[in-house]
Amino acid sequence: MYARWVLTALLAWPAVAAAAILIAPPRWAKHLGFAASLIEFAISVPLWWTFVPSGGMQFVCDAPWIQVPLFATGAPWSIRYSVGVDGISLFMVLLTTLLVPLSVLGSYSYITTRERAYYALLLVLTSGMIGVFVALDLFLFYVMWEVMLIPMYFIIGVWGGENRLYAAIKFFIYTMFGSLLMLVAILALVYLVGQRTGVFSFDYFHLMRNLGGLGPLAFWLFAAFFLAFAIKVPMFPFHTWLPDAHVEAPTAGSVILAGILLKMGTYGFLRFAMPFFPAVALAPPVATGVVVLSLVGILYGGLVAMVQPDFKKLIAYSSVAHLGFVMLGIWALTLQSVQGALLVMINHGISTGALFFLVGMIYERRHSRLIAAYGGIARVVPLFAAILTFVSLSSIGLPGTNGFVGEFLVLVGAFRTHPVAAGIAATGVIVAAVYLLWALQRVIFNPLDKPENEKLLDLTPRELAVLLPLVACIVWIGVYPKPILDRMEPAARQFIESVRPPGPTATALGP
């Protein structure tokens, strides 16, 4: 019962709750939103225990959606409502359900206008995000991928900063540009496979089983998928929408953008782009290109972050660097690096999410995100300073925090297949230390020389309630990541096998 309906419940509940919020009195909106997102989290928690690591795709729910013969002579085109999770998507779903209640709680005092619409959109966004991670039908995946654009577009455009309209439309058009080409690629894929098998199905496993022999077309199809996901990640030359969107979005928008939306890109590579077209993805020119772009992302993101005067923009660019690690880990294609990449995806959601919350909290007090506007505030707001320091250290990758485990695994794994790249990427960790510690120094240490900063209030209990769960996750994953690694290992192994057929190299890489 639970296994069959949990994912559908996770998808439907936020949408239902959003409708309820829209008709309830405005002053209840935030409380209803918080309650709804907590219930969502509660529904998702048992997934952690009931998930069977070696069980492959589970919690599957499948029903026909659009099954009509599209063309006069053709076989039926089968589009199904088909959802499930494995060791890759499980954590993305849990991360989503964890971050959403915190985002709602973190918006309590930030959002003061049109509250009903805001919380309803946040919940609709939740549905969309869960949908992207659980969809096993490419049509459903595409629909969810686009559906989640609209709420985010509104969240940035209505509740964002001064330059919000520009940021919102840039975000929208960038994402749409990539995803529409992906739609054409999906259709071509379905048609080509359908011609061969006689079944025009968007089903993920059907496509996986019957792919191959696409010839030179495979490159173009891969390119379309690659573009859609690379824009979302974002990889180096496609990242320009990210700083704008992050900086202009309200706090919760930034948290969700960084924490979850960026992961959809890397998830797309793990789930679709690489398993569908392993030969193209691993062809030396493509693989080298991706690794180089990842390295550029790591170093360039770090260096640009270093010179940002705006704290929020600094964090935004640090995302580009972190996601570079994920891409490197995926393409290095060893068990450790893929697990590391998955872990970095989770860690980045937690640490960067917490950083965005912290910046948002101080912004609410001082209405400035400029690093230069602060200085020495550790004495005024000790609790804030302590948590900011701790979260920054985890983002740098200090041993004992989650950041270390993920990046270490990526580097260790990548070292086996791409030693030079791993060496260069390791310097990215140093760059991260430079930009974050330097920013930390300028914000919370140094002399307290601005009179406006002398009367700042420290964190309220509500804000602590937002941050402490994230701090707990940082410590937990940093000290004892084994339960997470155990749950993702079979899926990571299977991913590697699906990309690179089992051979001597693949087995040699196992632990």
């Binding site: 659009i66 099954q67 009509v68 013969p69 599209l70 063309f71 006069a72 002579t73 053709g74 085109w77 595409y142 629909v143 686009e146 559906v147 609209i150 577009y153 509104f154 455009g157 209505v158 919000r164 309209l165 919102a168 439309i169 929208f172 058009i173 749409m176 540009f177 529409l180 080409l181 739609l183 054409v184 259709l187 071509a188 048609y191 173009w220």
Partner: protein
């Protein structure tokens, strides 16, 4: 039910919908002759028109329900009896009915107390039905003229408005010009094949007839149709005419009139010229040019009405992609897209008509600023229409675009599909600012939207279109089925070799 068209009873049955509508149009003319003064008279003719459209739709339904088909025989068939005709008929009747509903308030508000308006709509709809069902070039031409003459008058029905006069005059001149091209084309095709029956032409060409005269005839036909569907480079009349006409008439032109021209084009290309390779390449370039130019110019527009006018040019480009995909996969996608397109265009124009008082021409996109706070439901409806026009998932516009893309990829037109999606991205640049203005910009001054009012019937139109867009966006199964069975109608006569796949493939490679 097989109808033997050589018996007069069966012939009358086959023409039942057209006959019903013609009968009603005469009744309407009589009503108008006596009652043409007050607003009450206008409402009366409006309701009579709706009754006429409903009973005609019922007649179509009756034929469809009995799966009426023409018996093969020696008698040359002038009007097709197939699902393509029935589905397009419903579409035309639905578009006309929504237009009439939309016009009640509009005509009263703008003091256009001319009940002939409704008669003209009925005549135009009759013309459309003949175009969608015409199985002979002459019938198609007659339908086109019946339609065009009525719409020329409709465009200039507001005699007080100089822009209306300009629109009518421009439309008339260029429309007459286009009709001339079409007629010349028909003459040349007749000269080459000795017949004007579509299937007979197809059979002639299949048997090896044709040559230069045929191809030049086909080219002239394409130019004529290109004018009517406002394909680039024959689109220059469209924005001015759409802009200058009364808004409900614009909605009717953008949805119904264009749909009729497309339906006829589909039938002509699919039934008469499946074996001629030349048009594939022409339509391919027409589609690309229309999508690119339409979207780019729409991007530069600042008034909502002109933006919608150019966007309708762009949508003609998307429909041309369905034509280029060939009649077999294309016609079904075309029918589905037309339903979605009619709903979203009518919804958008209905909302525009509500916003503008005596001057919806001048409504800038920025004039919609803050609409969401003042009229949340109207803003929501317009947002749904915009997203559907953009082809966003969850709306019928997306399923329609997806269907066209599926048709194009399955016909090996990958490049065309890519152009379609890339130009759709451009279209986000002009559809989104509407949403942006409504939701993300503050009201410029306190009473900015005070005059905005939508009558009860206008609300009905908007609700029907929004509900339809959302419903078919999530659950399109039945409509997809209807579109597919309707698409079967457009097939070459048995024994005529269809356009060889090699032709399409060769064309695709040269195009690339």
């Amino acid at each position: 039910m097989i109808l033997d068209l050589s018996s007069s009873r069966d012939l009358l049955l086959a023409l039942l919908p057209e006959l019903v509508l013609t009968g009603w149009s005469l009744v309407l003319l009589l009503v108008v002759a006596w009652r043409h003064r007050t607003a009450g008279d206008l409402r009366l003719t409006g309701w009579v028109t709706l009754a006429a459209l409903a009973s005609t739709a019922a007649a179509v339904w009756w034929l469809w329900w009995h799966t009426a088909r023409a018996a093969p025989g020696p008698v040359p068939v002038m009007v097709a009896v197939d699902d393509f005709r029935f589905v397009t008929d419903w579409l035309f009747l639905g578009a006309a009915a929504l237009t009439v509903l939309l016009s009640f308030d509009y005509l009263e508000r703008e003091e256009l107390l001319v009940p002939e308006y409704h008669v003209l709509i009925v005549f135009a709809t009759l013309g459309m039905m003949l175009m969608g069902g015409g199985e002979d070039l002459m019938v198609i031409f007659l339908g086109l003229e019946l339609l065009s003459v009525a719409v020329y008058v409709l465009a200039g029905i507001n005699r007080e408005s100089p822009s209306g006069a300009e629109a009518a005059f421009k439309y008339f001149l260029l429309g007459a010009f286009a009709s001339g091209f079409l007629l010349y084309g028909i003459a040349l095709v007749y000269g080459a094949t000795g017949t004007t029956g579509l299937r007979a032409i197809g059979a002639q060409i299949g048997a090896g007839g044709g040559g230069t005269m045929l191809v030049s005839g086909l080219a002239l036909l394409l130019i004529g149709f290109g004018f009517k569907i406002a394909a680039v480079p024959f689109h220059t009349w469209a924005p001015d005419v759409y802009d200058g006409s009364p808004t409900p008439v614009t909605a009717y032109m953008a949805s119904g009139v264009k749909a009729a021209a497309f339906a006829a084009l589909f039938r002509v290309l699919g039934e008469a010229f499946p074996a001629v390779a030349a048009w594939h390449q022409i339509v391919w370039w027409l589609a690309v040019a229309t999508m690119v130019v339409g979207n780019l110019i729409a991007l530069a527009q600042r008034t909502v009405k002109r933006m919608l006018a150019y966007s309708s040019v762009a949508h003609a480009g998307y429909l041309l992609v369905a034509v280029a995909a060939g009649p077999e996969p294309g016609s079904a996608a075309f029918l589905f897209y037309l339903v979605a397109y009619t709903l979203m265009t009518l919804g958008a124009f209905a909302l525009l008509a509500a916003k503008g008082r005596h001057g919806e021409r001048d409504v800038l996109i920025d004039d919609l600023a803050g609409l969401a706070t003042r009229h949340p439901w109207l803003a929501f409806a317009l947002a749904v229409c915009m997203l559907s026009l953009l082809g966003f998932p969850g709306t019928a516009g997306f399923i329609g675009k997806w269907y066209i893309l599926a048709a194009a990829t399955s016909a090996g037109q990958g490049v065309l599909a890519a152009v379609l999606v890339l130009t759709s991205v451009i279209s986000a640049g002009y559809y989104l600012p509407v949403i942006m203005a409504m939701y993300m910009k503050p009201e410029p001054f306190a009473e900015a939207h005070v005059g905005m009012r939508l009558g009860r019937l206008g609300y009905a139109v908007v609700m029907v279109s929004v509900a339809g867009l959302l419903f078919f966006g999530v659950r399109p199964n039945r409509l997809l089925d209807l579109a597919r069975t309707g698409g079967v109608g457009v097939q070459p006569a048995p024994g005529v070799p269809p356009a060889a796949p090699a032709v399409t493939a060769a064309h695709a490679s040269t195009a690339r």
